[in-house]
Structure formats: C-alpha cells, structure tokens
Amino acid sequence: MALLEVVGARKRFGAVSAVEDVAFAVERGEFFALLGPSGCGKTTLLRLVAGFETPDAGKILIDGADVTALPPYARPVNMMFQSYALFPHIDVAANIAFGLRQERMDRRRRAERVAEMLALVQMADFAHRRAHELSGGQQQRVALARALAKMPKLLLLDEPLAALDRKLRAQTRLELKQIQERVGITFLVVTHDQEEALGLASRVAVMDRGHLIQVGGSAEIYERPNSRFVADFVGEVNLFEGVRRGSLLHLRGIERPIPLPRDAPDGAAILAVRPEKLLLYQEEQGGFAIAATVVSSDYLGGSTLVHLAGEGGLVLKARLPSASAEGVARGGRVWASWPPDDAVALDR
C-alpha cells in the first residue's frame, strides 16, 4: 500500500485553477519530488497534503486513512517551510520541542529527542540560540530538525534549498539525502529546480499549469520525457518539429530528413535531442547530418556548451567533453548528427 495517495485532487482559487485532477502515489520510504515552474500548482498540492488547503474535489489518503477532512494538527505529516518559519520568540531547542509538547511527551524523553535531532543536523552547539542569531544554512537545519522531531509518517519540504547560496545548496542536498536514508521517513519535496529534483529524489512528478505531466524515476524523466514540456523543462534540449513521413521527419529548410528513433510512437512529429547526444564533425559525413556554423562555445569546466546556427534557421546546442571541443572555433563550419535512437520522439 502506498504511503500517500492523492486521488483526483482539484483546487481552484476563484477562476484560477491551481490543481486539476491530480492523482499520484508515494511509496513508503521514497524520496519523491514535485517539479514544475513557479505557479504550476506544486505548492498548492503540498498544502493540500499538509491540510492548509481543502481540495474542491478528490481525496488524500495517508497510510490508507482518508485525511481529506482532517485539520493540519491532526495529520501525521510535518512540513519544512520554504521560509523555515522558525518561531522567533523561543530558542532552537524550544522550536524543536514545540511539536513534541503537543504530543504531551514527558520532559525527559522530550529532552532526549531534541538532543538527538540537534545531533542529527549537527546543531548541538546552538540549542539556546534564537533563529535570528543563526545563518541561513543553520536555520535550514533547525527547520529540518523541528519537522523531523515528531517522526512523521511523511515529511513535506517546500523548496528546502531555495534560500541557500549555490555552494551550500550542493552540500545540503547531499546531507538531506543522507538524513532521509538514516531516518527512513518518506520525503515529499517541492522544487522548481530540476537539478535539485533529479539529484535528490528517487522519483519525480513533473507538473505544468495544475496538471501532472509525467511521473517517473530521475533517469526516466531525463532520458525518456513524455512530452515537449518535460523535455524542455528538465535539462537542456534540442527540439525539432516537422512533418512526419514514415520513419523520417522533414524539417522546413533542411534538405535531408531526420531519421526517427525505432521506438517512435505513431504520429509523433516532435524530436527531442539532449545536447550531450549531439556529435560534431569537421567534415561532411555520409548519412544524416545538419550543416551548422559555431556561434559561440561556453567553457563550463568538464564540458563545453557549443551554440550552433544550423541550416534553415535552426538553433542547436551541443555539449561536448572539453577535451574534444578544442577544435571547435567560433565561425567554424561543422556537421551535427546523432545516433537516431539517442533521440526521443514525442507526440505532444
């Protein structure tokens, strides 16, 4: 049985539809991410699960029990807020103990649990500080400890890393994953950052304008997107839209048609190719290739992102290992190609 089941959830604010017929399930112990651009309804979905909003239609089940009508305080879930929402009038230890007090846990066990949580997030030395005396990263740890203290069945995290600077974010991401594995609690995280979602979660649900577009493992979402939206939103991609004739895609202004992958569904006339799948040749090849001029090449350390202007006004991006990008000079003439099966054919 799934730990969290969202069944046909719908929520509208006036005329604005935030969540439309969303259904998905999160398994016990999973690290699940809701990914989408801002305004796609992912935060509303999270607030529906937490109980801050009531759905207009649909049900929310946690561990098999229908919690749709329960107020937030009666749900076996805890939430880590994007702004952390630490109580400013009490210290770190009291913040972490707040939820335990509501359970009427006795003093000694409460103190033990608080110490345990402080150790878990490496904040033992800060027990008697107030939130405003802590750095952003430290506040984030306290917020996590407070949300974990009650050992909820499900932990909700609203953009947990958004307020941290880039370097701290990478480190915290790793720690968050390790903590999740250690405590074994199911995590449901909301994020607009695809890197964060793919890096953290075992499964990802991509949302757009209130609808769930695709649910799958990180690699599946990246390698086998089911739609133009997912391919474009998750990572970088070259998209080609043309007229399909059999197993070939004809693009306007391009002489040679592009071969479609063998598993292309019927009627799929959009082709998505990740930049790292592109191969650049200095000389014209036999078989399929698009002639292009190098517009710029951005050195990114391990890899180099090459921007190309192709025939027929096509704009292309290729990601090469920096070592093999040395011969690619601005203004240079190249031929871009890829193994047909490395591309994904899409019908929407």
Partner: protein, 292 residues
C-alpha cells in the same frame, strides 16, 4: 557620506529636541517651580521662587500636604484602579476586534479600520455627553430595558463606577485596537501554519505563538490607555458620581475651585513622576522583547 550632511543631521535631531525642550521640559519645569511656591492672592496667585537678594524661597509644603493628606493617596490609587481596569477591559475587547479586522479580506479590512476611527470625527466631549443621554434613569438604555420588560424600574447606570469604566473603555478602545492590529498584520502567517502543522490546536496556536508575538502591540496599546486614563478628567467629571475620586478631578478642583496653583502643580508633578516610572519600565520591557 550621507546625503543630508552635518547641518542637515543637526536640524533633523535638533527640531524634535527643541520641540521636546520648549513644549514639554520647559512647561514641566515651570510647573515644578510653581509647586515649590506658596499660594498667594494676586497675579500670579503664588509667591516668587526667589525672594529679596536672590534668597531661595522654595517650600516643600505642597508635597508634604500631598504626603500627609490620605485624600491625595486615595485619589492616586483610585485613578490607578480605574485606569488599570479600563486597560484590562479595553485589551479584552480590543484584541478580538483587532484580530477580526486583521483576518478580514482586504476590502473589509479598510472599511472596518475606518469604522474604528470614525468616532474621532466627533468631538470627544460630545461623545461622552451622549453617554449621559443613554445611561440616565429615563435615558435610552433604561427606557429600552423597561419597554422590553426586562426590568421594572430604571437601573442606576449613571454617575457611578460602572459609568466611568464604560466611558473610559469606550473612549480608549481605538487606541488598543490600532497597535494590536498593527502587530497582527505584521505577524508571519507561516508561523501560525507551522504551529498547526506541528500539532497545535487553534487555542494552543493562539497562546503559544500569536499572542507572544503580538505582545509589543498589546503593551503599546495598554500604555496608550493606561497613561491618559490615569489623568483623565472629562470622563469622571461627566459620568462619575460624588464618590468618584480621580486625580484629574482633584487637580481641577485645586486649580479652579481652591485657586491653589502650587498645590495643583505639586499634584501634577507627582502624577508625572508616577507615570514616568512605569513608562520607562514598559519601554525597557518592549526593547528587551524586540531584541528577543
């Protein structure tokens, strides 16, 4: 360098300082000077502070009289009691009103705030007089009660403890609502949600999160009622009875009935000192709260 420069800064600090000096400190010193004089017949109706050859002619008699006559002590204590009770009731009524306004949808919020401030468009004196018309034995309220059969004869609603308290709470309620409203709208809604999320029921959320975080507003509102209410003259004079002994009324009587300016000045000085100390204490408390 700042944009305003040295002179600008001097003016910026100097203007309020000068204002304070001219319109608070100087008058207070004059009052203090008068309080050290003796009552006399003439203009002004008190003796000069310096006699012939610049000999000091100050006297502590007025203060001694205040200390010696229990009437003054009772008047101070009664004023404090009236004002403290009025403050408590104003907070009790004002907090829920402020809460309701802060939680109301945008358009309603402005309208409700406007209603809170609406009474200020009418003279304070007229509003207190209106209460006489409402509370007197054959007034609006008694007539209503008798007509509805709830009481057989008029209730004594006027010229007693009740009517003074009512007048104080009514008059000062907006001063409680506004600062509490101010701190409620500044309260981060996420904190309330976080408390509920951690298992706190609505009552617990209120007493453990909302109330502690709006205490600065509560304290500001309490001071805005307590301080003027202690020295209040109009309300006890109009709505109070012969037994209502508030310090503002005693002061009035010293000035206008006994024409004893020095005694009145001494009463005023004691009142200011009695107010200044609690204000300073309260400010310390507020600053400590703010620093957290």
């Amino acid at each position: 360098m700042s944009g305003i420069g040295r002179l600008g800064r001097l003016v910026l600090i100097g203007v309020p300082f000068l204002w304070f000096l001219l319109f608070f400190l100087l008058p207070l010193l004059i009052v203090f000077k008068i309080s050290l004089a003796r009552s006399a017949i003439g203009i002004p109706p008190y003796t000069a502070l310096f006699g012939k050859g610049l000999s000091l002619a100050a006297t502590g008699d007025n203060f001694a009289r205040i200390a010696g006559d229990p009437l003054y002590l009772y008047a101070y204590l009664d004023s404090l009691l009236y004002a403290a009770l009025a403050t408590a009731f104003a907070l009790l009524f004002g907090y829920p009103i402020a809460y309701a306004i802060a939680r109301a949808p945008g358009v309603w919020r402005q309208l409700l705030l406007f209603f809170v401030m609406l009474p200020f468009w009418t003279s304070f004196l007229i509003r207190v007089y209106a209460w006489i018309a409402i509370l007197k034995p054959n007034g609006f309220l008694n007539n209503l009660l008798i007509a509805s059969g709830l009481v057989a004869s008029p209730l004594p609603l006027l010229n007693n403890f009740f009517s003074v308290e009512l007048g104080l709470v009514y008059s000062y309620l907006p001063f409680v609502i506004l600062p509490i409203y101010g701190s409620l709208v500044r309260l981060d809604e996420r904190l309330v949600e976080a408390a509920a999320d951690l298992g706190a029921r609505p009552a617990v959320v209120f007493f453990r999160v909302t109330l502690p975080l709006t205490l600065p507003g509560v304290a500001a509102g309490a001071l805005l009622v307590l301080i003027p209410a202690i020295g209040e003259f109009v309300i006890p004079a109009l709505l109070g009875g012969p037994n209502t002994l508030m310090i503002g009324k005693v002061l009035w009587d010293e000035f206008f009935q006994n024409h004893d300016w020095p005694a009145a000045a001494a009463v005023a000085i004691v009142l200011v000192l009695g107010l200044a100390v609690p204000i300073l204490l309260a400010q310390r408390f507020l600053e400590a709260e703010a620093e957290g």
